[in-house]
Subunit: 321 residues, 2 copies
Amino acid sequence: MRAVVHAGAGGPDVLSIRDIGDPSPGPGQVRVRVRASALNRADILQRKGRYHAPPGWPADIPGLEYAGEIESVGAGASRWAAGDRVMGLVGGGAHAELLVVPEDEVLPVPAALDFPEAAAVPEAFLTAFDALTVRGHLQRGQRVLIHTVGSGVGTAAAQLAHAMGATVLGTSRTAEKLERARALGLDVGIDTSHGSFADRVGEPVHLVLDTLGAPAFADNVAVLAPLGRLVLLGFLGGSRGEIDLGPVLRKRLEIIGTVLRTRGPGERAALADAARTGLIPLLESGAVRPVIDRRLPMAAIAEAHRAMEGNGTFGKIVLEW
Amino acid sequence: MRAVVHAGAGGPDVLSIRDIGDPSPGPGQVRVRVRASALNRADILQRKGRYHAPPGWPADIPGLEYAGEIESVGAGASRWAAGDRVMGLVGGGAHAELLVVPEDEVLPVPAALDFPEAAAVPEAFLTAFDALTVRGHLQRGQRVLIHTVGSGVGTAAAQLAHAMGATVLGTSRTAEKLERARALGLDVGIDTSHGSFADRVGEPVHLVLDTLGAPAFADNVAVLAPLGRLVLLGFLGGSRGEIDLGPVLRKRLEIIGTVLRTRGPGERAALADAARTGLIPLLESGAVRPVIDRRLPMAAIAEAHRAMEGNGTFGKIVLEW
């Protein structure tokens, strides 16, 4: 099979497509013919040598999500049959033509979506779904602030929060991204290209989905209502800084770190189960939909990395075989 | 009635006992003849002018917990009758002979306890109970690290965690306090008078109850297992410092601030309800018991403050009328 492979750590040009051996499905696993994958910030970090694949996943093939067809099944795997349209998350290896995954971690592709659209779903929507519901406990009528709302996770979270009946606030450094996010359910857009967001939030929020990290911590905590939750999804501004925990105690806040990639098989299967009932129906009905910035052939992987690093994208960059 | 009153902010000598007007119970309230109260760190902070009583509670009378008898009941209050032995938490005003409280926030005094013992229960045990169970989700067989385990909250938490079937680790800067805590269920005592606790914890813990704050944050996070919880109860070492949020995300931790005093009536009543079923039976059976460092007459309030500030106490300082 062909796969994207890292030739060491560095710029986008360390990535190339090579012919390598096909993986074989073990017991309880399925082999997927990957039709499309999508790009994530973690792929950039991994390329730079700053983020390694967790144990049990290919170390040199990037890619955290896929859509395609079941190609064959391993011993004892009974959930899927050859030809089924599937999508899902992996700890690595999704930028390949063939991928082996535990059958319990696989999700069906909603009928309304083609493969490139489906490839834009798993990381963004499972991250947002998990952050809003499982970790964030968002309730109808509450207010949620979503940072970098034009990102893959941001556009998914805005739609899901809107579908859940929340008031959705979002930040971006680009006014045009905020404008586009309005069509997805964003109620209040905050342009952070000039000044802090804290004084433009208004009424306190019950939940913040943060991708900014330490530089935004004080303002995130300041805009939270008592018993509010701050879910940490990433650190675009760095993870380290001078931080005051005082308001966390006084307002009885919860600061919750979350990342999908390091989860073990049991947790991945549990999240897939939760998504079957809580997320897939919203995709089937069209209440939420993947937001795709552009589709590129897998051979343009270096161009895809450059586009993501340029921060000019809105939604996901999809890679097709 | 007589009450302890602050004459401005300052040292222990700003406290004195004065004659002031009796409070009257409003609808749904009861008036308690206070027999004993106990001292808390928040009383020290309040005396120094660094912590104010929340709205609705006496601003100039300290005291956050009481034990005594129901003296009279307000209109519509039906839960208690004159003479009932009761105890509970208040937002302030407990260092007085009479105290008015909503009847739903009052707890019965277990038969095994006299008033001074009962006065040592509410803050320590409700804080520990809430931190371990409601916020900390401690499960049988898990490991919990309790900082300043010789304090009122620490001695309560060690006993409760032991009764819940957890392995209990605790820190103190005083070897003798660790030795005394062993009799309360402490399994592993860590003397922090020399060096960090982090390399002496061994296997990761599932829960940390922290009273140290920012200086201990990195080590607290380091000793937590994935999905572990750090409950912030106080900041003896300060709340502000250089903090790295990276491990919070990677290990998917939860940092949870909690404080009892600022809670509104609904939350106070809910905690009292939870304590009726989850905590009072443990006190009734003797599975857990208040730990009293010393009993002093209320007139010795300044001496009580000095003793707490000296950090030589083990358990609660009780004040009797």
